[in-house]
Subunit: 243 residues, 2 copies
């Protein structure tokens, strides 16, 4: 039997222009920081934006943007709180800060539940902070969200890039649209990653230098917006057109 | 029905002194580099050592140590190849370099299969490169390997540490032994992580400074052994006693 909630998901996401899944081949490349900052940058560009933290392995956008207190309201579904100019939703609204080792099947179930109950406004962009790599949750989200598009983050490390290559290959075989790749925490002038991305026939969206002052901006959306990191993300945001 | 392979796993691991699961709360903290280098360091200390890459999300020890060519032999099970003085086994011997998005239940199945067919020699240490965070695979491995002990890796970032705190809390509730915590890629003199680790009643095993030359050592066990990173890991290895 088909889960009746699945047909509801398309309905819930109907009013959203583009759904941008910020993803990576592996953890630790700055995916959540890019997702959070990209959402803020799109707000600055004048768009209506939502941010949805779907990283079950280590949800962190609520820490980055300090939105622990904001709670969704129940009203014929769940209405995400509005904070820092964006609509915000996270798995932690349900799991809390507790240890939540969800099994594969539970993850699917929670994903379907969250997607089918959340009532976003009419948005230009919904930014998803994805689980890292090719997990069950990644596959579920591709299946559940028909118009999902990927923005992939890597560091300059060849180890990180090899995992991105696998993700790109999967997305290609599933015919999922890829917006492009961002090279994060860059410490040298090397063009190696840019060239390898272009060889995959994927757009290279830009590089972000390693910013040693970024750590102290975590936990404050205002401080974050003032970093070199945020300026670079703003440039990337300006390359992403609304539908 | 209980999977008959599960009872075989205990038998297969009987001749191993200590099983050290190198783990982290999130990806990208250098877990695989610590696991690979720790295995080499324990060999240098004069021990018999195995390294088992169980990181399904992004297996990378074979890239770090350049052991793509070494293949296990079939002989009443699978005999791991010996390379750089250690016995080596990885999921990639089976999945290859292809895209392998394993679903939760398949991961369990592959884990059980690999653990039940691999014939390790009598070893002092078996080092496991674990999947990052609290995943199905982490839970399975805790269930399947009775004598598993955890060595956790974090960076100095509070985001990474918060995910480690969750993992530590899970291990505590499951009564799994924790050897200690390593603080990796350290760029400042701050004692914040050390203090927080000690407040968890967990041993702080040491810190490893950020080593900008580490990237170029990836792919060569010899080069890796010559890095500042490896010297620090050697000090940590000397603190881990055989059974």
């Amino acid at each position: 039997m088909v889960d009746p909630r699945i047909s509801v998901i398309g309905e819930r996401l109907k009013g959203i222009g583009r759904i941008v899944a910020v993803s990576s081949g592996k953890g630790g490349v700055g995916k959540s920081l890019v997702a959070s900052t990209l959402a803020l940058a799109l707000v600055k560009e004048g768009y209506k934006v939502g941010l949805f933290d779907l990283d079950f392995t280590s949800p962190s956008t609520h820490i980055i943007l300090d939105i622990k207190e904001a709670k969704p309201k129940e009203d014929k579904g769940i209405v995400p709180p509005r904070i820092h100019g964006l609509e915000y939703m996270s798995i932690i609204h349900y799991s809390g800060e507790d240890v939540a080792p969800l099994r594969g099947i539970d993850v699917s179930n929670v994903l379907i539940e969250l997607l089918s109950i959340t009532r976003w406004s009419k948005l230009d962009f919904l930014v998803l902070d994805m689980p890292p790599g090719i997990s069950d949750a990644t596959l579920d989200l591709i299946r559940l969200i028909k118009r999902i598009e990927f923005l992939m983050v890597t560091t300059s490390s060849q180890l990180a890039f090899e995992t991105l290559r696998k993700l790109a290959s999967l997305l290609d075989s599933l015919k999922v649209h890829v917006i492009g790749v961002v090279e994060n925490m860059k410490m040298t002038e090397s063009k190696a990653i840019k060239q390898q991305v272009e060889r995959l026939n994927v757009r290279f969206l830009g590089e972000i230098p390693f910013d040693s002052r970024l750590e102290e901006a975590i936990g404050s959306a205002d401080k974050l917006s003032g970093t070199v990191f945020a300026r670079k993300v703003q440039k990337i945001a300006s390359k992403i057109q609304p539908r």
